[in-house]
Amino acid sequence: MTDKKPERREFLFTASYVAGAVGVAAAVWPLVDQMNPDASVKALASTEVDISSVKPGNTITVLWRGKPVFIRRRTQEEISEAKSVKMEDLKHPEKDEDRAKDPEWLVMLGVCTHLGCVPLNDKGDYKGWFCPCHGSHYDTSGRIRKGPAPLNMEIPKYEFVDASTIKIG
C-alpha cells in the first residue's frame, strides 16, 4: 500500500467525483439564494404621491423601496437649459425628453450613481444637484456633468394617475 503509483483514472471514480461536485453545487445554491430579496420584498407595492402642493422650482423627496425619489417641478428656465445641452457634452448622453414624460416634472431616484449617496438640491456647477460625498455635479435633468459618477441619475418606472397624483413603481 505504501508505494503510491499514479492511479489509473477509473471511470467509476471520475463519475463519483463529478456527481458529488454537482450535488455540492446544488446544495450551495439555496444558501446563496436565501440572501436575495424575498417574496415579500419583491412584491412591495408602488407608491402614490400627491403632487398638487408642489410649486415650480421646488422638489419633494419620497421614499420608494427604501430609496429617496426626487420629484421636481421644474421652472421654464430649467427646462430650456436641460433641453439645450448638446449630446456630445454629456458623459452619459440622454435626451431630456427621454427622462421627463412631462417636461414640468422630473421624477428620478435621488441616488448618486457613483457610490449611492443622496445628492443635494439646487447645488453644483450645473444648477441641478451636487453629491457631497465625492463631488459629482448633475444638471437640471439629473444628468452627470462633472465628477466621478459614471451615469445619470436613474428614472424609475412611474406614471401620472391624474393631474395631481404620480404613481411610482
Partner: protein, 263 residues
C-alpha cells in the same frame, strides 16, 4: 439459551421502536378520524387546484368572519403551487377588502382598497376584541392551523363534520356545542358548515363533506405553501442520492479490493 434471550431482547427493542414511532405519529389520536383521498399526500402529492380555489371561497365567505389568517398576503393566491388565481382575480379579491393605511401627509390614517402586497385583512383588531365577540374564546389564526393540530388535515376534516347531539349524560352551557372529534368534546364554535352555505362558482355541489374537504385542502396549503416544490425537490434529491450512493459503493469496493486481495 443465550441466543434465545438475545432474540427476545432484540424483539423488545424493535417493538419498542415501532410502538414509539407509532405513538409519535398518532399522538392524541384517540378517536378514529375520518379520512379521505387527499391529493397532497405521498411522494408526488399535489394540491387539487379546483379544491384550493373552492376552499378559498369557503374561507372568505364562512371562516374569515371570525378567523384571521395573518401570515398570508393576497399575492400568495397567485403563487405557483397554490390556488393559482390569475393576477386579475387576485387583484379583484384584494380590492374587495378595505385596508387601513397611513399615516398620510396630514398624519391621518385612511382606508383604501387592498393590494396584492397586503396581508389578509383580519376580522378583529386584536385578540381581546376577538374574544369579546366570541364569548371569551379566541378563534385561532388559521395560517398554520393544520400543522398546529395533531392529526393535521384529517383532524380538521373530521372536526367540521363531527357535530352531533350530545349524549344524554352531557349537559352543554349556552354557546357550547358537542363535537365528537374535539378534545374534551366541547367546542365553542357552532357548526360552521351547512348544506349550500356557499354557492360554488364552478358549479360543484356544496355538501358539508365537499366543503370540509375543500377548506381543509386550502388550509393545508396555507400551512405549507411550498408543499409541491418540496415534494418535487425531495424526489429529485433522493434519486440523486441513491445514484451517488451506488457510484460510491462500487468505488469503495474497487478501492478495498486492493486490500482484500492481499489478505
Amino acid at each position: 439459551m443465550i441466543i434465545s434471550l438475545k432474540h427476545i431482547i432484540k424483539l423488545i427493542v424493535i417493538l419498542t421502536l415501532v410502538n414509539f414511532i407509532n405513538h409519535i405519529v398518532n399522538a392524541a389520536e384517540k378517536v378514529e378520524l375520518l379520512k379521505t383521498d387527499w391529493t397532497f399526500k405521498g411522494l408526488f402529492g399535489k394540491f387539487d387546484r379546483g379544491s384550493l380555489q373552492r376552499g378559498y371561497q369557503v374561507y372568505s365567505q364562512v371562516c374569515s368572519s371570525c378567523h384571521s389568517m395573518k401570515y398570508l398576503s393576497y399575492r400568495n393566491l397567485t403563487e405557483k403551487g397554490g390556488p393559482e388565481f390569475t393576477e386579475e382575480q387576485a387583484k379583484a379579491i384584494a380590492a374587495s377588502y378595505e385596508v387601513k393605511d397611513g399615516p398620510n401627509a396630514d398624519g391621518e390614517m385612511f382606508v383604501r382598497p387592498g393590494k396584492l402586497s397586503d396581508k389578509f385583512v383580519q376580522p378583529y383588531d386584536n385578540v381581546k376584541a376577538a374574544q369579546a365577540a366570541n364569548g371569551g374564546a379566541y378563534p385561532p389564526d388559521m395560517s398554520v392551523l393544520i400543522k398546529a393540530r395533531s392529526g393535521g388535515a384529517n383532524y380538521i376534516y373530521s372536526l367540521l363534520q363531527g357535530y352531533e347531539d350530545p349524549p344524554a349524560e352531557v349537559t352543554l352551557d349556552e354557546g357550547v356545542y358537542y363535537n365528537k372529534y374535539m378534545y374534551g368534546n366541547k367546542i365553542k364554535m357552532a357548526s360552521p358548515l351547512s348544506e349550500g352555505i356557499v354557492t360554488y362558482s364552478d358549479g360543484t355541489e356544496a355538501t358539508v363533506e365537499q366543503m370540509s374537504k375543500d377548506i381543509t385542502t386550502f388550509l393545508m396549503w396555507t400551512a405549507e405553501p411550498h408543499l409541491e416544490s418540496r415534494h418535487k425537490m425531495g424526489f429529485k434529491a433522493i434519486i440523486y442520492l441513491i445514484i451517488l450512493t451506488i457510484l460510491v459503493y462500487f468505488s469503495m469496493k474497487k478501492i478495498w479490493s486492493r486490500i482484500e486481495s492481499e489478505v
